[in-house]
Symmetry: C2
Subunit: 175 residues, 2 copies
């Protein structure tokens, strides 16, 4: 280990009762505003997947776009946006999922992946795993191979990892 | 000019009548999926602003997050997300604006910018200029100095540039 470890904790602000009572929201905007820390986080998110040679990153709307675009650049691959319903203009595949706070649907363009393309799913936080699971199902529906899920923060107590099956889940920070 | 010019037009798909009848939507997902072209686009978006030394990029939800995060990395600065209402967990400033198709509101955290910080606003498309204008107003409300607006595509016929005052507006592609 030659790299200096960044302490990422100071770049996360805990906000109680957001978006609803009893939820402790982990605000990553301080990390996004700090270019050295953000770059270190992105490199740490990319690291275990470099040797697996992903073809594309699948970034989950909306914070997953910020991490996903940076990670796609780091790995020099394309980024596919997984979006909320009605946002993508062409033919889509879609999967419903239950969030920690609500219920929603995720869509990708039907031609987003070629058969057998190797996909890395990226989001800011792994909570209950519902969104990540929906992203996996979407990519696999289109014939892609999901290499794993990379997030900046994993909320371990919510057990989201158990929803991802045997796929590699990687988090930079466990909270 | 030593750089080879990329022809970006093949990386945009025109989708008629989206999101509503009469709107010709410019779909940039093919660009996002092509890492060399996306990187070339991001470098072209950054170019006129390098010498102005921005402190931060303000990326507009949601496609502006994809371009903004890549641009922030290119310029080695932080990225501040300008979000739809209710998404940011802490105290916010907000500005209402009229979109080409609808009406909406843009928010940033109240502490997103220090007084006098130099901000570059980033989005995928400059259309009527309503969103870009709201982003300018938001940044200025917080005491930041807006250096300009950088977009991948400008829809020239919609006249959005006229809403930006004397600020530098830069588009890689005029459609």
């Amino acid at each position: 280990m030659t790299e200096t470890m960044t302490d990422f904790r100071p770049f996360i602000r805990d906000v109680p009762d957001f978006p609803s009572p009893g939820i402790l929201f982990r605000d990553v905007t301080p990390l996004l505003a700090a270019p050295d820390a953000f770059l270190a986080a992105v490199k740490a998110m990319a690291e275990p997947f470099r040797r697996l040679r992903p073809d594309k990153v699948l970034g989950i709307e909306a914070r997953g776009f910020l991490f996903g675009a940076a990670l796609a650049r780091e790995l020099h691959v394309g980024i596919v946006p997984a979006r909320k319903p009605g946002k993508l203009p062409r033919m889509t595949e879609s999967v419903a999922y239950g969030l920690e706070y609500g219920k929603d649907r995720l869509e990708v363009h039907s031609d987003a992946f070629g058969r057998g393309e190797r996909v890395l799913i990226v989001d800011d936080v792994l909570a209950t795993g519902g969104t990540a699971r929906a992203a996996i199902d979407l990519a696999e529906k289109l014939g892609a191979e999901v290499l794993g899920v990379s997030v900046f923060i994993e909320l371990g107590a919510l057990g989201g990892r158990s929803k991802l099956g045997a796929r590699q889940a990687h988090a930079v920070l466990m909270l």
